[in-house]
């Protein structure tokens, strides 16, 4: 009997498996993209709440996905949606909402709210819900957290200097005066080490100054910029004075620097801002000084900006009704909203949560917690335009010219911002009038390319083989077909699609059928696009510097390390190691090394060479990336080593006997023999240099200004941040043509300077 039972056991397992598979087929999975799991306190709670949600809704499983917290967070959702990943619910930034809505990528939740008897909009901050409505008043989501921008203040520092703490209604003049009083060189080394303010520099943080001066970013219609007006210039001039003319403001508070310990956190500035509630999270570790928050200083009027993260239901959602339920019950519920506020990452949109004791947390700074609510009356969102991110990026580069480097006059920057924005808005208007691309054009183009490739094969294959050769040909065909499938599916196919796309306008959030025909507009736009020009110049400069330098270094290392010894193989491994590291890791490492107070600057200071601001100074940022490229010469060095090992040693011996010294042997004997390897490394290096992406993406996001917005980064931003896939495709094709021409020119010129080995003479 026992044997029989054992024999039946495998069948039991199989049956159970089939039943489980059937059950899971009926299970509905809700994919929810939430915040960074590093916020362990909320992640754990979210897990518990999700389990409770699953218990309430039978047959549902909640799959929590992390959006991550690093650079490019905002683009990740777009990439997923463009790839048709079925997200049911996702967090996005409010500045992106219009773009998603315009691409019809979100579910209008109004019907769900209307049918929800428990829904009471009055439980939420009106400013938050208003930002989530369209022109018809339809609601598209719920806030995760939000925050108005305020000014953080180091009370201990002000008190120690005998400076009176500013009142809540304070002016630019008072702010300016305190900054002057605080700024000092405390250790007498000739460098200012205590500043009035750490001035934040991204557009959302700069907009309040413009609004306070009485200016606007766009006119009411949203179709004309107002950058060029006096209040904008006044605001920029004020900030330029603080930063560069008087040096009472430090510029360490860039968007990229937020994750790092800044001067304010170190107690070396009196003010920090304009910045949001999230700083409470970072400052909770500060024990060295007492801090508080203040409304922003006012000028002609009081104004501040609001940042907000919201949850929305993408059009790709498989279960929108469940997503709505999860939004209302979990993400919009009191426990989660309260926890988010308590962590300090942002204020909850739910009023009850925002005012709860857990969020207020009496006894924990800021003492003036209510400031966050008091300023809401004067708080505004940035303009809600579908392509606001593009305008933001166009202007950010100019703003950095005024604020970060200080070498652009405020008037000039304002004029350029107006010019760029208006040109872009004009383009947007023209875009609306474009005809749709007839359906089937894309498929026809791909089919044509395929036909062309097959035709090329058939005409070039030569005479058919004799009977005996046919089996061989079939076998060869079978082996090659694997490669051919890959080539057509992943190279030729996409290449043809991008070629067609480069003559179209298309947002990756829309279906491929929804494409507008743009003719050569994408290419003509490149001609007049200042950012593209800057990008091209930066990329060319990078390539011009990095390619010869890396070639020279790789060759020098290969010559040094070509001897076989245990030491040289150890050094070879060490030199090659960076080549196998992920570029992201390399970028993170170099971010630390190139810091103002990083190892490289410490070494430079030792030899009295000064401390370049590698990643903040536009003139140093390209050299910084060249330096990084030099560190990763391992692969090129290996190719040179292989080339050197293939050299005929008798030539060098002959040269030694012929009386040539080391230099003449290198120049006249070794180098000419290595020219094929130099050509190979040169062309592959050139292509790699023109395709630099990961390092600037991680380290500078193209800044300061546009000085490190290399071509592929600009291409990526155009495609996945600004959703201009057609324009990005045009950039890709221009880059391809440029590389093809350069490679061809190099190959042509190689006839004159590359020496291939003579007919082999057997040894």
């Amino acid at each position: 009997m026992k044997t029989l039972a054992r024999a039946r056991a495998p069948w039991k397992v199989i049956w159970l498996g089939i039943l489980a598979a059937l059950a899971s087929a009926q299970e509905r999975v809700l994919h929810v993209m939430v915040e960074d799991p590093l916020l362990a306190e909320s992640w754990e709670l979210l897990g518990t709440l999700s389990r409770e949600f699953e218990a309430r809704h039978g047959g549902v499983r909640v799959d929590l996905l992390s959006l991550g917290g690093a650079a490019g967070t905002m683009d990740r959702v777009k990439l997923l949606l463009a790839g048709d990943v079925p997200l049911d619910l996702t967090r996005i930034d409010i500045t992106e909402l219009a773009a998603y809505r315009e691409a019809n990528a979100l579910v209008d939740l109004e019907p769900y709210f209307e049918g929800d008897s428990d829904w009471d909009p009055l439980e939420w901050f009106p400013i938050c819900l208003d930002a989530l409505r369209d022109e018809r008043g339809h609601l598209y989501g719920l806030p995760q957290t939000f925050t108005p921008y305020v000014m953080y203040v180091n009370l201990t520092l002000l008190d120690s200097l005998g400076i009176e703490r500013p009142a809540r209604e304070w002016s630019w003049e008072e702010f300016h005066a305190i900054c002057r009083q605080v700024t000092a060189d405390t250790d007498g080394d000739g460098r200012t080490d205590r500043f009035g303010v750490s001035l934040t520099q991204w557009l959302q943080a700069l907009a309040p100054w413009i609004w306070q001066a009485g200016g606007e970013l766009l006119d009411r219609s949203g179709r004309v910029s107002r950058w060029n007006e006096p209040p904008v210039v006044e605001a920029l001039t004020f900030l330029h004075t603080l930063l560069h003319e008087e040096g009472v403001a430090s510029d360490d508070a860039t968007f990229e620097n937020q994750q790092r310990r800044g001067l304010f956190q170190s107690g070396r500035t009196a003010f920090y801002g304009p910045v949001g509630y999230w700083e409470r999270f970072r400052l909770r570790a500060v024990r060295e000084f007492e801090w508080d928050v203040l409304p922003l200083p006012r000028h002609r009027r009081a104004a501040t900006a609001v940042a907000m993260s919201v949850y929305v239901v993408p059009r790709t959602a498989r279960h929108p009704e469940l997503a709505y339920a999860f939004l209302r019950e979990v993400l919009g519920g009191l426990p989660y909203q309260t926890r988010m506020g308590a962590i300090g990452n942002g204020l909850p949109g739910l009023i009850e949560a925002a005012h709860s004791a857990a969020v207020r947390n009496p006894g924990v700074p800021p003492a003036s917690f209510d400031v966050f609510f008091e300023v809401l009356g004067e708080a505004r969102f940035l303009p809600t335009l579908a392509n606001w991110r593009k305008i933001e990026s166009l202007c950010q580069a100019e703003l950095e010219g005024v604020l970060l480097s200080g070498d652009v006059a405020p008037e000039e920057a304002a004029r350029r911002m107006a010019e760029k924005t208006d040109a872009y808005l004009d383009l947007e208007r023209r875009r609306e009038a474009r005809p749709r691309l007839p359906g089937g054009v894309m498929s026809a183009a791909v089919a044509l390319a395929l036909l062309f490739a097959v035709g090329l094969y058939l005409t070039r294959r030569g005479p058919p083989p004799a009977r005996a050769g046919r089996a061989e040909e079939r076998a060869a065909g079978a082996f090659l077909s694997l490669w051919a499938v890959g080539f057509f599916a992943f190279l030729l196919g996409p290449a043809v699609v991008t070629l067609v796309l480069s003559f179209c306008e298309w947002s990756p959030l829309r279906p491929l059928s929804d494409m507008a025909y743009a003719g050569f507009d994408n290419y003509t736009r490149l001609w007049g696009d200042g950012t593209f020009h800057t990008s091209l110049v930066a990329t060319t400069l990078y390539a011009l510097l990095s390619v010869p330098l890396t070639l020279a270094l790789a060759l020098a290392l290969a010559l040094l390390l070509r001897a076989t010894s245990s030491l040289s193989s150890a050094v070879r491994t060490a030199v090659y190691l960076p080549a196998i590291l992920s570029p992201v890791i390399v970028a993170a490492l170099w971010h630390v090394l190139l810091d103002d107070d990083g190892l490289i600057n410490d070494l430079l200071a030792l030899i009295g060479a000064g401390r370049p601001r590698w990643l903040e100074d536009p003139s140093w940022v390209v050299p910084a990336f060249v330096l990084m490229a030099l560190w990763s010469v391992g692969t090129q060095m290996l190719v040179f080593l292989a080339g050197l090992s293939g050299l005929d040693p008798t030539l060098e011996e002959a040269a030694r006997i012929d009386g040539a010294g080391p230099w003449r042997r290198f120049v006249h004997v070794i180098l000419p023999q290595l020219t094929p390897v130099i050509l190979f490394n040169g062309i592959t290096g050139l292509i790699a240099a023109f395709q630099i992406f990961a390092q600037p993406y991680v380290m500078t996001q193209g800044g300061p200004g546009d000085s490190s917005r290399f071509l592929v980064l600009y291409l990526y931003e155009s495609a996945f941040r600004h959703l201009e896939m057609g324009y990005a495709s045009a950039i890709a094709w221009v880059l391809f043509l440029l590389l093809a021409i350069l490679s061809f020119a190099l190959l042509r010129s190689s006839r004159r300077w590359v020496h291939y080995a003579s007919r082999s003479v057997g040894r």
């Binding site: 011996e653 002959a654 040269a655 030694r656 012929d658 009386g659 006249h668 000419p672 003579s758 003479v761």
Partner: protein
């Protein structure tokens, strides 16, 4: 003209594995000495030591009255022609020829003059603008020689310069090289594994085996009186018959073979050149023919009798069949005797 002396040259890359041991050699001014030996005997290493490309583990290299052991190759005033010619592939013939002169920083006019002279003497005038890849093997060889002579060095070093050429061309160039040496009379060390080159080119030959000098002497002396069993087997084509046997009471025995006049008792090696074996009669008893190679001008015959094996070199007109029996005779004065253990030559009483 310069003299070249090698004194106690020793080279080893690992302990107990010497490549060269105690090489002493004096080359007179203007003399051409050929170093010959099988592959791996150390002859190229010796040449590279003279050139300065390899440092000896011990010993000295003297050119004239100057010890150059520690001098760099370029400072020794030697020129070398390599087996693979070692022409710089990216330079034209003219630039290849001029390269050593440019290194010596000679004035342009002098360089042009000497390049033209070298090209003229080697018949390279029409090839000056060509790259090595556009030359034939023989032309490349001439350029390599040209690059050596253009410097007017004290010593010429040739490292198997003809071994990459076909037999016919090798013969032609051998003659040209001999003529060139006669004309220039530059002290020359010439390495080859080809005994025909050794015999025809050198005024003396040095036979090297396993890093040791086996014999130094004029080619015909070495041929006629090989100093060791190795030299006897190496010099001469077809090689000398070496028959191992035992001598008792002055009679050498190997299988059915018995020869009187053995110079010593005990194990001995009898050496007989194939061309010195005479066929006395055909048929009957004697050596049985096992293989026949008819070369036209001569017929090589392998024959055996019991343990004794013999190679004969007969006239081209002689017809011999496999299986045929040959009675042979070897003149006493053509016998070479070598010690069975030492392999050294023994003079017959």
């Amino acid at each position: 003209m310069a003299t070249l002396s090698l004194r106690g040259i020793h080279k080893s890359y690992a302990a107990n594995a010497p490549v060269l041991e105690g090489i002493d050699l004096d080359v007179a001014a203007g003399e051409l000495v050929v170093i010959v030996g099988p592959s791996g005997c150390g002859k190229s290493t010796l040449l590279r030591i003279v050139a300065g490309l390899i440092q000896p583990s011990a010993g000295e290299v003297w050119i004239d009255d100057r010890c150059v052991t520690d001098r760099r190759p370029g400072e020794r005033d030697v020129a070398m022609v390599f087996q693979n010619y070692a022409l710089y592939p990216h330079m034209t013939v003219a630039r290849n020829l001029a390269f050593p002169l440019r290194n010596a920083r000679l004035p342009r006019a002098r360089i042009a003059e000497r390049v033209a002279a070298a090209a003229r003497s080697l018949g390279l005038e029409g090839l000056l603008d060509r790259k090595p890849s556009q030359l034939s093997g023989g032309q490349m060889q001439r350029v390599a020689v040209g690059r050596a002579i253009v410097r007017e060095p004290k010593v010429f070093l040739f490292d198997e310069p003809l071994s990459n050429l076909d037999t016919k061309l090798r013969g032609e160039l051998r003659t040209e090289l001999a003529e060139l040496h006669r004309r220039l009379a530059i002290t020359t060390l010439y390495v080859t594994h080809d005994q025909a080159e050794a015999m025809t080119l050198g005024s003396r030959i040095v036979v090297l085996h396993e890093g040791r000098v086996q014999q130094i002497g004029a080619p015909l002396d070495v041929f006629a009186r090989p100093a060791t069993r190795f030299v006897a087997g190496f010099i001469g084509s077809p090689p000398m018959n070496l028959i191992e046997g035992v001598a008792e009471g002055g009679v050498f025995h190997c299988g059915p073979l018995a020869l009187a006049g053995a110079p010593a008792e005990g194990p001995l090696v009898l050496g007989v050149r194939p061309e010195h074996v005479r066929v006395v009669s055909r048929g009957g008893t004697g050596f049985a023919v096992r293989a026949v190679e008819a070369h036209g001008n001569r017929t090589l015959v392998n024959a055996e009798s019991g343990a004794a094996r013999l190679r004969l070199c007969l006239g081209g007109e002689v017809r011999v069949k496999v299986g045929e029996r040959l009675a042979v005779e070897i003149p006493q004065d053509r016998l070479h005797w070598f010690g069975g253990g030492s392999g050294l030559r023994l003079e017959s009483g």
